[in-house]
């Protein structure tokens, strides 16, 4: 029997006629050469049918190994750089890992009956493993507390939003992302580069932002993605002036009007789009009209094979791009009986548009009234002197909690005196928010923490 054609990355490496590369700050490889090279010393066939943990120190080797392992291993778990050491063993057990691909073999010296394969820069290899199967792709959720959940995808599902979608078309897209490609948001961009016939410029943990942006420009990056927090940090740095992308994409957090307008101003010729996606639900949709929120008409049945509905205020998605399951013993159900994933992202309809107002778990309780920090931040971020902000709960003996805000100002604004800015921010909040949502206190801070997944760190969420 002739097998059904299997969708694998190795079939998308193209010919030598295109100058497609994968690069980071130290290395660059030709994508078309990867068909005849191996970063596993030609030992890829040993991974046939195995459950592989891909645990590399950087993204470059991770990306090369993904291409080589896909289609060979039974499953491949992408280990993000910030996985806590004490979660590693439980994650490996839950995923039934029996092989590790790593450039840090010492880390796995004591784990017993598991094949450890070293990964390094690619070399010509005589015998490459044949395509055997559709490998299951496992990713970890980016929750900040507790053991991360393991989410199972197929490559076909992961690429569901990519095939046939070419934003800002033109010469070959050169993709880059502030994300790590071992997270859902970053992997989407890596797969766009490989499957969509482009090139990929990886970010490097520890590289200074100005150096990173200079490298993006040198490499001719045309398409770039990140969270609104990533983009705000770029806008704050002043480095954006030396970067001219064709397409700017935001995902992973709520894209408010202020950051969309800020990016439009910084990149006047770029298309700017914000996408909704989650590790569990996959890519829901992209919005390209430059406005926050999304058209109410997107809710309903069967747009691009994605069904969306709003139940109890939260967005529910049923889609072939969604993960198929949480993986592990006693893993919770990923979907309800009808196949919908509850995203936990809360929506509010105003007129003909829906707006994200926050996470269900991030609600601040002010005397029994519920407040989403994100809706307050959206108002504060609308002030022209504000670069980013975080609203949070402060404990109160009277109401349980009150809202306070930490605000980062545009460079140099602080010197001009903060009292006037504070007054203007509070006036804007009073004009647009119910009184319990107006921050009781505003502190001006030099910076706000961003998590390894690129999201504003919320200690009280």
């Amino acid at each position: 029997m002739f097998p059904r054609e299997i969708f694998v990355l190795r079939d998308h490496l193209g010919s030598v006629l295109t100058e497609r590369t994968i690069s980071d700050s130290r290395h660059s490889v030709s994508i078309s050469d990867l068909g005849t090279q191996s970063c596993l010393c030609g030992r890829d066939a040993e991974l046939a049918g195995r459950s592989v943990l891909l645990a590399t120190s950087g993204q470059f080797l991770a990306g090369l190994a993904m291409i080589e392992i896909d289609g060979v291993a039974r499953r491949m778990l992408l280990c993000p750089p910030d996985l806590k050491a004490d979660h590693l063993a439980s994650v490996m057990a839950a995923a039934g890992i029996d092989a590790v691909v790593t450039d840090q073999p010492d880390r796995f010296a004591d784990i017993g009956d598991v094949l450890v394969l070293p990964v390094g820069l690619p070399q010509l290899a005589e015998n490459r493993a044949q395509t055997l199967r559709a490998t299951e792709w496992l990713m970890l959720t980016s929750g900040t507390s507790g053991v991360p959940k393991i989410v199972g995808h197929t490559l076909e599902g992961l690429c569901g939003a990519i095939i046939g979608d070419s934003p800002a078309p033109g010469a070959m897209p050169v993709w880059a992302t502030f994300y790590d490609i071992r997270r859902y948001g970053g992997l989407q961009i890596f797969l766009r580069a490989i499957v969509g016939g482009g090139a990929m410029v990886l970010s490097d943990a520890g590289e200074a932002l100005a150096d990173h942006v200079a490298r993006l420009q040198t490499r001719g990056v045309t398409h770039m993605s990140g969270t609104p927090s990533h983009w705000r940090r770029l806008l704050m740095s002043g480095a954006a002036a030396h970067f001219t992308p064709r397409y700017v994409r935001l995902s992973g957090e709520i894209a408010d009007q202020a950051v969309l307008d800020g990016l439009k101003q910084a990149f006047p010729v770029a298309s700017i789009g914000h996408a909704y996606a989650s590790t569990e639900a996959g890519v829901g949709f992209a919005v390209n009209d430059g406005r926050e929120g999304f058209p109410a008409g997107l809710i309903g049945q069967g747009r691009d094979g994605v069904d969306m509905k709003v139940v109890d205020g939260s967005l529910r998605i049923r889609s072939r791009r969604a993960a198929h399951a949480y993986v592990g013993h006693n893993a919770a159900a990923l979907t309800d009986a009808d196949g919908f994933v509850d995203t936990g992202d809360m929506l509010e309809q105003r007129g003909d548009r829906y707006y994200f107002v926050g996470r269900r778990g991030g609600i601040i309780n002010v005397g029994g009234l519920k407040v989403h920090p994100e809706e307050i931040e959206a108002v504060i971020n609308g002030h022209p002197d504000v670069r980013m902000s975080r609203a949070r709960s402060r404990r109160s003996p009277i109401t349980g909690g009150i809202v306070v805000a930490d605000v980062v100002l545009v460079d140099g604004r602080e010197a001009a005196g903060v009292d006037a800015v504070r007054g203007e921010i509070l006036a804007a909040c009073r004009a647009r928010l119910a009184s319990h949502k107006v921050p009781a206190m505003i502190s001006f801070v030099p910076a706000l923490d961003v998590t390894p997944a690129g999201k504003l760190a919320r200690t009280d969420a």
């Binding site: 002010v366 005397g367 402060r394 404990r395 109160s396 003996p397 009277i398 109401t399 009150i402 306070v404 509070l426 009073r430 009184s435 319990h436 009781a440 206190m441």
Partner: protein, 81 residues
């Protein structure tokens, strides 16, 4: 500025922000009569904690919330420094 006048100044500032018209603040005015709601009191207690470095209503587990403006001010004056 003594504690009493700092508290009075903060009450007036919050009344201004919350669009509350205060009656004259005498010691025997009940807190209810100030026109402050629980949110305004929550903001008052938080600002005073930042200003004076203490929150007498969280410190003591059994602290009953005061009934009058005078009781409220004394709760701050009686906190050991």
């Amino acid at each position: 500025m003594p504690v009493r006048s700092r508290i009075i100044a903060t009450i007036k500032q919050i009344a201004d922000e919350q669009k509350v018209t205060l009656p004259p603040l005498t010691d025997d005015l009940t807190l209810h009569e100030t026109g402050f709601d629980s949110l305004a009191f929550a903001i008052l207690v938080a600002r005073l904690e930042d200003d004076l470095g203490t929150d007498p209503f969280t410190l003591a587990e059994d602290a009953a919330f005061p009934e009058t403006v005078g009781d409220f001010i004394r709760a701050y004056e009686n906190v050991p420094a």
